[in-house]
């Protein structure tokens, strides 16, 4: 559905690249997550693929449309949710969606049920300028679903939302994905990437460091740990053992055989830990 080959981009039209040699593809119904710290180039990539930024160098095909000369009708099949909410403050939630749906040539979803889906049903007739940040964000998010897109671009869909609402949004995305929507998602939240995406791309300083499924990444880079709580000489002790290291494995066996085990958990490395191992950078930075 999306093919990107050797994409380069410089805002200043010089050697200062925000994207360098970015290549990836997303097949139909797949969700790819761009995981990277602030300034990595996630939004820049989305901007180019949605025609908001000019394609400077490289090739990009979205839904069969060549991005170097985008056709307007392409947008009937695409949904875009923005990192920064951008709705008309002077219009109500409902009016925002009602006017937006008129811009498409394809059948559109019912704005009321969409608003209900993200918990905005009570403020349907309230002007967006009176909304909180999270409410505006949800309005921006549902607006991207109006045309029931088969390719969905989501720039930081859960950032800045409280956990309950973020959970709701994740559920909606999962539901759409189950329905066959192809998803390009950017985030610096590893849980979102882990939970939603079939594959994640680690991006740092405009370069993709690797792309793989969360599961493969964990198998390949993660060290599985076992956390044990046990009673030793009458007091509660705690220890972690890596299953990769033979010495530690034996130490764990020793504890199991000789001590009284209180609790025992296996722990997988998080995507964040893997990210740090692979890129040498922190996601939060």
């Amino acid at each position: 559905m999306i093919n990107v080959d050797d994409l380069w981009h410089s805002y200043s039209h010089d050697k200062d690249y925000a994207l360098k040699n970015v290549s990836f593809e997303i097949s139909k119904g797949e969700a790819l997550g761009f995981l990277g710290p602030s300034g990595a180039g996630k939004s820049t990539t989305q901007g180019i693929l949605t025609g908001l930024l000019p394609l400077q160098k490289g090739k990009a095909v979205v839904g069969g449309y060549d991005i170097s000369k985008p056709a307007r009708e392409m947008f009937n099949r695409i949904g875009v949710s923005f990192e920064q909410s951008n709705v008309y403050g002077k219009l109500t939630a409902l009016e925002n969606l009602e006017f937006y749906r008129k811009l498409f040539d394809v059948p559109t979803a019912d704005p009321r049920s969409l608003l209900k889906w993200v918990g905005l049903e009570k403020v349907i007739n309230k002007r967006a300028e009176e909304f909180s940040k999270g409410m505006k964000h949800r309005l921006t998010f549902v607006r991207s679903m109006l045309n029931d897109p088969d390719i969905w671009f989501l720039d930081e869909p859960t950032t800045g939302l409280d956990p309950a609402i973020a959970g709701q949004i994740k559920d909606i995305i999962k539901e759409k994905k189950a329905g066959g929507t192809t998803i390009f998602l950017t985030t610096h939240n590893m849980y979102v990437a882990d939970e939603i995406c079939d594959r994640v791309a680690f991006i740092v300083d405009g370069e993709i460091k690797l792309i793989d499924s969360p599961r493969n990444l964990k198998i390949k880079y993660g060290e599985r740990l076992v956390d044990v709580e046990f009673i030793d000489e009458g007091s509660l002790q705690q220890a972690s053992f890596s299953l990769k290291d033979e010495k530690e494995r034996n130490a764990l066996l020793d504890v199991i055989n000789t001590k009284k085990i209180e609790t025992m958990h296996t722990r997988e490395a998080t995507l964040e830990q893997i990210f740090i191992r692979v890129t040498g950078r922190e996601l939060a930075a």
């Binding site: 930024l53 000019p54 875009v80 951008n86």
Partner: protein, 356 residues
């Protein structure tokens, strides 16, 4: 169809922001001021250029000079050497009136019987003409004037056409141009900057709609507001004396010209604060020809090449009883073409800037 929705959306947006009302409120203020504060005609203390033929008896010329510089000193009297000089000076000073006093040609006793002529510019009000005539005829009326009453009196104008506007109506063209046309320039730019700030222009860019639909929707709202305020003003100030067919046409093209220029200008800036200087300079320049409009003698080339110059005079025509159709239509056609060009340029710009 999408254009209609675009228009409806812009209309709703603009009626919820104060800019839209700015234009209407301005129009109301102007109407109130013109109707209740500005008199229909100003008391004009114009200069009177006179020529008194030397073959007249000294007593007569002294009389004229005395009378006119005495109680009736409202108009300054300046004596000149020839009729040609009077006309020449009048062509320079468009606020003046001319008077010639010569001996009556058919007289049997030359130098005692006189005839006088009043020369007007052509756009003086009826009232001013009457005042002048009355005051001049006073000079030759007994008992102040003891000679033979004038044998002949004539009134003529140096202007080609004898059309004139009342002072109140002659305020309208600059007002129409500024409020109905060039306020649109400022307001449409303000709306563009609001959209840029909210980022809604980006949201629009990822729909199958064309940017021209978005821009035209905005221009249509400006057109509506401009027509509304313009027609309201003329209807309540000039009433039935205007030619509404020409007026509507001219209001429409000048409004489109203003708003397409506003779109183009706004495309070069990110926010109002940055654009303010440029927009003010443009509106200020556009207002300049109003000086020439009121003082036709002062019409230097830089003034005449400003687009507002012909528009002002075209607006003036639409308020006359016998307007120059060809002149108004030619202006409308030219500005319609210019507007289309500006719009196409703006469309090109927005296609580009939306992706930056």
């Amino acid at each position: 169809m999408r254009l209609l929705y675009s228009f409806l959306k812009e209309l709703r947006l603009s009626t919820r922001s104060y800019y839209f009302y700015l234009e209407i409120i301005m129009a109301i203020i102007i109407i109130v001021v013109l109707r209740y504060v500005v008199p229909e005609n100003f008391e004009s203390s114009s200069r009177l250029f006179a020529y008194v033929s030397p073959d007249l008896a000294d007593s007569i010329s002294t009389k004229i000079t005395d009378t006119h510089t005495g109680e009736n000193a409202e108009n300054t009297l300046i004596l000149l050497d020839s009729i040609d000089a009077v006309v020449a000076v009048m062509e320079e000073d468009r606020n003046s009136v001319g008077l010639t006093v010569t001996s009556f040609q058919g007289s049997e006793t030359p130098g005692t019987e006189i005839e006088y002529r009043l020369i007007f510019q052509g756009y003086e009000s009826e009232r001013l003409r009457n005042i002048m005539q009355a005051s001049v005829s006073m000079i030759f009326a007994p008992p102040a004037f003891t000679g033979t009453p004038p044998k002949a009196a004539a009134v003529e104008t140096i202007g080609q056409r004898n059309e004139h506007l009342s002072d109140r109506n002659s305020v309208l063209p600059p007002v129409l141009l500024l409020n109905a046309a060039f306020m649109g320039l400022f307001i449409i730019a303000a709306f563009i900057f609001m959209d840029k700030e909210e980022g809604t222009i980006k949201a629009f860019a990822v729909t199958p709609s064309h940017i021209w639909e978005y821009l035209l929707g905005k221009m249509a709202v400006m057109l509506l507001a401009g027509m509304l305020s313009g027609l309201m003003t003329v209807l309540l100030v000039a009433g039935s004396s205007a030619n509404y067919v020409l007026l509507i046409l001219l209001l429409a093209v000048s409004n489109l010209f203003g708003s397409s220029l506003g779109l183009l200008v706004a495309s070069f800036f990110d926010n109002m604060a940055q654009a303010m200087g440029t927009i003010f300079i443009i509106i200020y320049l556009m207002a300049m020809p109003a000086v020439s409009y009121y003082m036709p003698a002062f019409s230097p080339l830089p003034m005449r090449i400003l687009p507002s110059y012909p528009l002002l005079f075209a607006f003036r025509e639409t308020l006359l009883d016998d307007p120059d159709y060809a002149m108004v239509l030619a202006n409308a056609a030219i500005f319609a073409v210019v507007s289309v060009i500006l719009f196409l340029l703006a469309n090109k710009r927005y296609k580009k800037i939306i992706t930056i």
